[in-house]
Amino acid sequence: MASLSATIVLFIVLSISIGPAPPLGPFLNPNTGFWANAVTGDSKSQTISLDSGELRDSVRVYFDEYQIPHIFAQNDHDLYFAQGYVTARDRLWQMEFQTYAAAGRLSEFLGPRTVPYDRYQRRIGMGFAAEQALKGINKNENTREAVEAYAAGVNAWIKQLGPEDYPLEYKIMNFEPGKWTPLRSALLFKNMTYTLAGRNSDLRMSNTRAYLGDSFISEVMDLDPSWNDPTIPSGTPWNFEPLEAQKPNSNFQPSTAQDLQPFQPDPMNGSNNWAVSGSKTKSGYPILANDPHLNMTLPSIWYTLQLHSPSVNAMGVSLPGAPSVIIGFNEDIAWGTTNVGADVWDWYEIEFRDSTLAEYRYDGEWRDTEKRIEEIKVKGSETITDTVFYTHHGPVVQDFSGESMRSGIPKLHAMRWIAYEESNEVNYFLKINRAENYEDYRNALRDFKSPAQNWVFADQKDIALTVTGQYPLKWENQGRFISDGSDPLYDWQGWVPFEQIPSVKNPGRGFVSSANQDPTAPDYPYYLDDDFAPFERGKRINDRLAAMDEITGEDMRKLQLDNYSYHAAKVLPMMLETLDTDTLTGTGKESVRLLAEWNYHNDSSEIAPSIFKYWWDALYREIWSDEYNSVEAGMSWPERDQVAYLVLNRPELSWYDNRHTDEKETLEMLINRAFYRAMNNLKEEYGTMGDNWQWGNVSDTDIGHLAQLPGFGKEDLFTGGGAESVNAIRGSHGPSWRMVVELGPEIKAYGLYPGGQSGNPGSPFYDNMIDDWNAGELYPLWFIKNETVESDSVTYSLTIE
C-alpha cells in the first residue's frame, strides 16, 4: 500500500502550485495544459450559437490578414456585445489583469507579495474614482447600454470556456476568469487617468524650495525657454472674460520637508498628433496623423477593430475592456490624441484634531472625515481591512499606519485628483465614433473630462485641435507646491468653462499639432501647470509641417519616424567648442570626429547619438548631483530644455560650482570632465568603441510582458529615435500606435502598433507587427463601407447568433 500512498501523494503534488510555479500536472499535460494554448493551424470560419436573448439579431465578424475584426451588427446593443465578445476572445487575461491591478485586487490571485501595490491603489482612491465614473456612465442611457452590452459579450465568451481554453497566463498564475462588469470598464477609464494624469511633484517641488531656496526656483525651475512653440499658435486671441481665482495673500510654508528616497521623475507619456489642411496636401483634403507614446507591452495596450451598425461605421484602436473606438476614423472624420499633462493632482497638508483622524481643520472649524473601508482579499492568507480617511479634498493616502508606500507621498496629507470627479468619457467616444463634422466633434468633447487630452480632428474641409479636459480653476502656480488644506483659497475654486479651454480651428498656417508641449503662449488667462514636455518634438513637427507642401500620407509616415534631435542641435556645437581636444587620443579623438560630423539624427546605426547621450547625461549629473544629493529628501530635477538653456545662456551661474570641493568649478570644467566620464561609462558598459556603441544597442528598447513574465516579451530591439525625437522611442516607452488618415470622399487609413492582435503568447499573431513597426512600416487598414460577404481580404469569419 506504500505504492498507493506514493501515487496519491504524487498526483496531489502535481495538482497544487508550489511557490510561484503553476501546478505541474494541469500545466504540462498536452490536452489541457499550456500546450493547449499553442496555435497549430489557421482559424476556420464558424457559426456560434449563444443562448437566446443574448443577441437581438445575428452578428458577422470578418477577420482580415492582420487578424483585425470587422464587426457588422444590426443594432448598437449587438455591436458592443460583439466587441466585448471578440475582444475577450483575443485579450481576456489582459482585460482581467489590468482591471485587477487598477482596482488593487492583484493579491486575490498573486498572494501576499502584491499587498503593498493593492493597498496603494486603494488609498489613492481608484475604487472611489471608478464608482464616480460608473455614476456618470449610468446617467446616460446610451453609455449605460453600451457598457452593459459589452460586459454581457465578455461574459458570454467566458461562459463557454473550459479550463483548457483559459488564456495561458491564467494557467501560469493559477486562477480563473472572473465575471466582467461595467464597473471594470469604468476602472479602465480611471486607470487611463492614472497613467496619463497620475503625476504630481508637489512634495518634490516643496522640498526643492525648502533646500535650494527661492532663488533656485526662480533661476532654474521657473525657466521657460523661449524655444517653445505652443500647441495653440501664439497670437491666438482669447475672446472671453476669464473667471477669476481668488489668491491667498502669502505663500503657504509646508510644515515638514520629508525624509524620502531621491527620486528621478519617470519619462512622461508623451505623444504626437497633427492634422494638415487641404491647402497643404496633394489631394486637396486634410491628412491626420497620431502616435501616442505609452509604455509598450505585450499584449499591447491597443486592439484594432472596425465597428459597423446602422448608427456607426468607425475603425481604429480600442482599449480592451471598453466599448467603442478610442483613436481612429469613420466615413467622414478622423480623430487622435496626445496627453496634456495639466496639474490635476494636488496635495493638501491637513491639520487633524487628534490621532483618530476623525476631524480636521477647515476654514476655522473642525470638519468630520469620512471613512472608506477597503477589503483586500489575499490568496492563501487572511483578508486585510484598510480604513482610508477622506476629507472634502480627497483621501489621506499615507496615514500613521503601515510603511511609506511610494516616494512623493507626504504623510497625513489629503490628495485632490481630477479622477474623483463624476465623468462619462464613454459618451465622448460614442459620439466621436459617430461624428460627421466639426460641430459634432465640439459637441462630443464636452463629455471628455480626464485625462486631459489634445484631441485633434479632421474632416474633408476642417482641421481642429482642442486642449480638452476639465481644468480646475486655479491661481498662478496653485498646487505647484504643497497646499494648505485648511484654507478655502487653496481649494480648486471651480472649473475653466468649456468654451474657454484652448482650441484652434483652421489656423492660417494650415496645420494643427501637439506634442505635449505648453498648450498656449503665456497670455492664456488660466493657469494649467508650470511644467509641460520640453519643446523639441513640438518644434520639430511644426518646423517640418510649415516647410512642407503638396503633402501625402507617405510624408506624414516619414515625419512620424523623424529621428532629429533638436536638443543635440542646440547644445552639442557649444559643448564641442568648449571641449579641450588637444589632449585627446584614440577613442576620445574618434568620438569628437563622429560628433562633429553628426547630422543630429538619432539613427539606430549611428554611434554619435550614444556618445552625445552619455556626455549630456554626465554633464547633467556634474551640474546638479552636488545640490540634489546633499539632502535625503526627494526633489524635482530641472527639465532637459531648462538645463540646455542655462548651459547656452548663463555660463556664469553659481550652481555649476561643486559645493563639496574647495575648487571653484566652471561650466567649462564640467563639460570637459563629463566628456571623460562619458567615455569611461560607455567603455564600461559596451566595451571598446565599435558596432556595440551603435545607438540601436545603447537605446535598449524592450517590449516586456504586461505582467513581466520572462520569455513573453520581445527584448533588445534595435531602434532609432529618442526622448527628444518625434520618433520618441526610449527604453520601453514609445509610439504605441502609429496612424495616418487621408481624409476625402474615399477615406484611406494606415496604422500599426508594436504588438499583435492576439494576446496569446502561443500565437504567431502575438508579436507579429513589431518588426514592421520597428522598420517604420504602416499597414493599410481595410475599411469596409458596405458589408461584403465574399472578399479576398477575409481570412475567416464568425457568425454569432
Partner: protein, 117 residues
C-alpha cells in the same frame, strides 16, 4: 509492448474529455491486469504515458513552429526548448508508471488475500 500501446491509446481517449489525472485509470487497470512484476509494471505505465505525452507535445511543437515551447523554456530558465518537451514526457511518465505500479500491487494484494482466504 502491447500493454504500453494500450495504455497510451486509452489514456489519450480518456484525456479528450476527462481531466489530466484520468491517465491513472488505464494505468491502474492495466497494471493490475497485465502486470507481471513491479519493475515491468512501472515501465509499462512510464513508457505508455511518456510516449503519449512526447508524441502529443512534439506534434504541437512542430505545428506551432516552436513559438510557445521557446517562451515556456525562457519562463522556467531552461537552456533549450526541447527540455520543455522532455520534462513534459518525464512528468507524465512518472505519473503513469506509479499508477501501473499501484495497480499491480493492488491486484497482488487482493489476489494474495483471496488465496489466503
Amino acid at each position: 509492448m502491447i500493454p504500453v500501446l494500450l495504455i497510451a491509446l486509452l489514456a489519450w481517449i480518456l484525456g479528450l474529455f476527462l481531466p489530466w489525472w484520468s491517465l491513472a485509470i488505464p494505468c491502474f487497470v492495466l497494471g493490475a491486469w497485465l502486470g507481471k512484476s513491479g519493475g515491468r509494471s512501472f515501465l509499462y505505465g512510464f513508457t505508455g504515458i511518456a510516449l503519449l505525452w512526447l508524441l502529443q507535445s512534439l506534434f504541437i511543437h512542430v505545428g506551432n513552429d516552436g513559438i510557445l515551447t521557446a517562451r515556456i523554456a525562457e519562463l522556467f530558465s531552461l537552456p533549450d526548448p526541447i527540455l520543455v518537451i522532455l520534462i513534459t514526457a518525464l512528468i507524465g511518465g512518472v505519473a503513469g508508471g506509479l499508477s501501473t505500479l499501484t495497480g499491480f500491487f493492488f491486484s497482488k494484494t487482493l489476489l494474495q488475500k483471496q488465496v489466503v482466504g
